[in-house]
């Protein structure tokens, strides 16, 4: 088939497309992913029984806000990775801000604490499961994000997948915060961030495998 013939065929009876559909697709798929993740957390882990008391503690809101901020800022990265030729500007890297802020907070808390308390501040009671649980909880939302990206045309599949992983990891951290009893900033700076980054790495690997077109 000659190129001219291909052009003629492609331009015959051309169906209208909705260029703004992606944000709706992403929103609905993510809503579904959040619902599955929340169900998984409630079913397998359960709400923190002390949650009502936690609502009055500043660090609880830092913990919840961290995950929500990473997720909200990663949306920008996902959206700009989804379309070919979109500049990935500073806004798309803004997800780093809550991570760096949490690290700073963790370092300050460690410096202010007596040396004997420092290990407890980092390891808490649940360091063994924290990152793993966040990564696990991120999976439904990661799959939702990747399915949404499949409908688009990411020219950097691994990075696009990583962005979907950050979005899922941030949201998973926020959901997990409703179960997790830890409140120390150093703990969050290490294990929450690690959970989010595991999800991003999984997204990069999956993205490279399934986002090619």
């Amino acid at each position: 088939m000659k190129t001219d013939e291909l052009i003629a065929a492609l331009a015959t009876n051309v169906e209208p497309v909705d260029a703004r559909r992606f944000s709706r697709v992403l929103a609905w798929l993510m809503a579904g992913g959040v619902a599955v993740t929340a169900g998984l957390m409630l079913q397998k882990m359960g709400l923190n029984p002390d949650l009502p008391a936690y609502l009055g503690r500043g660090m609880f809101w830092v913990k919840l806000g961290f995950g929500l901020a990473v997720a909200a800022l990663a949306v920008r990265a996902v959206v700009s990775m989804a379309r070919p030729g979109q500049p990935v500007g500073p806004v798309a890297r803004a997800w780093l801000v809550p991570i760096v802020a949490l690290w700073l907070l963790g370092v300050v808390a460690l410096l202010l604490a007596p040396a004997t308390d420092r290990a407890a501040l980092v390891f808490g009671a649940t360091w063994r499961v924290c990152s793993f649980n966040i990564a696990l909880l991120s999976l439904p939302m990661l799959l939702a994000g990747l399915v949404a990206l499949r409908t688009m045309a990411p020219t950097q599949p691994a990075r696009a997948g990583a962005a979907a992983g950050l979005l899922a990891g941030g949201a998973a951290a926020a959901v997990y915060a409703l179960h997790c009893p830890e409140l120390a900033a150093p703990f969050l700076a290490v294990w929450y961030v690690a959970g989010v980054l595991i999800s991003a790495a999984a997204g990069a690997l999956l993205g490279r495998a399934i986002l090619r077109w």
Partner: protein
């Protein structure tokens, strides 16, 4: 994986400002279903991308037309990913580069397998294989391999230009099945084209 092209940016800015506006108008109308505008967009795209690929495939000039067709098909299948609020040229060239890099990577992988001692043999084989390869990459041939549910809708609606309703009548499929057949069939064609190189 980005392709550093120091030559492209200034050229893009200087010469193509007027073209940018024109291309954008054509593609936005094409996204709404304006066939004439869309054909214009595709023709303009070809006139920009053919030299773009020729410059970068100096050693594989035989591949230029194949890559061009593959890029056109990809652009068509992904035409909803163009955001009308953004400039159209970066969108177009990003897709073209993505397909170019993909092709070069496939070529590089294949060449790494070549044994230099077998060059004569290689040449003979490639001459014999040339016709077959061209035919294999021919979209009309690939189309013939699709299942009827996709092949017939594409044949009637895209190539013969029947309306979707007429094609539905002729195939016995529902109107939406015809539309889905065209959509999925073109995606499948793009995938086959990728695999076949």
């Amino acid at each position: 994986m980005s392709f550093p092209e120091p030559m492209d940016r200034p050229r893009l800015n200087r010469v193509n400002d007027g073209r940018e506006a024109q291309l954008r108008e054509l593609l936005v109308a094409g996204q709404r279903g304006d066939a004439a505008a869309y054909a214009g967009f595709l023709r303009e795209t070809v006139s920009l991308l053919r030299p773009f690929f020729r410059r970068r495939l100096a050693h594989y000039l035989d591949d230029v037309e194949d890559l061009l067709q593959e890029t056109l098909l990809a652009m068509h299948n992904k035409r909803a990913t163009y955001d009308p609020d953004q400039p159209v040229m970066p969108w177009m060239y990003a897709i073209a580069r993505y397909k170019l890099v993909d092709l070069l990577r496939a070529r590089a992988g294949r060449e790494a397998l070549h044994d230099p001692l077998d060059e004569d043999l290689e040449e003979l084989a490639s001459e014999a294989g040339a016709a077959a390869q061209e035919a294999r990459r021919d979209l009309a041939v690939l189309l013939a391999e699709l299942p009827d549910r996709q092949r017939l809708p594409i044949q009637y609606v895209k190539i013969e230009g029947l309306s979707v309703a007429e094609a539905a009548q002729r195939t016995g499929l529902s109107v939406s099945a015809v539309k889905i057949g065209v959509h999925r069939g073109l995606k499948l064609l793009a995938a086959k084209l990728r695999e076949s190189r």
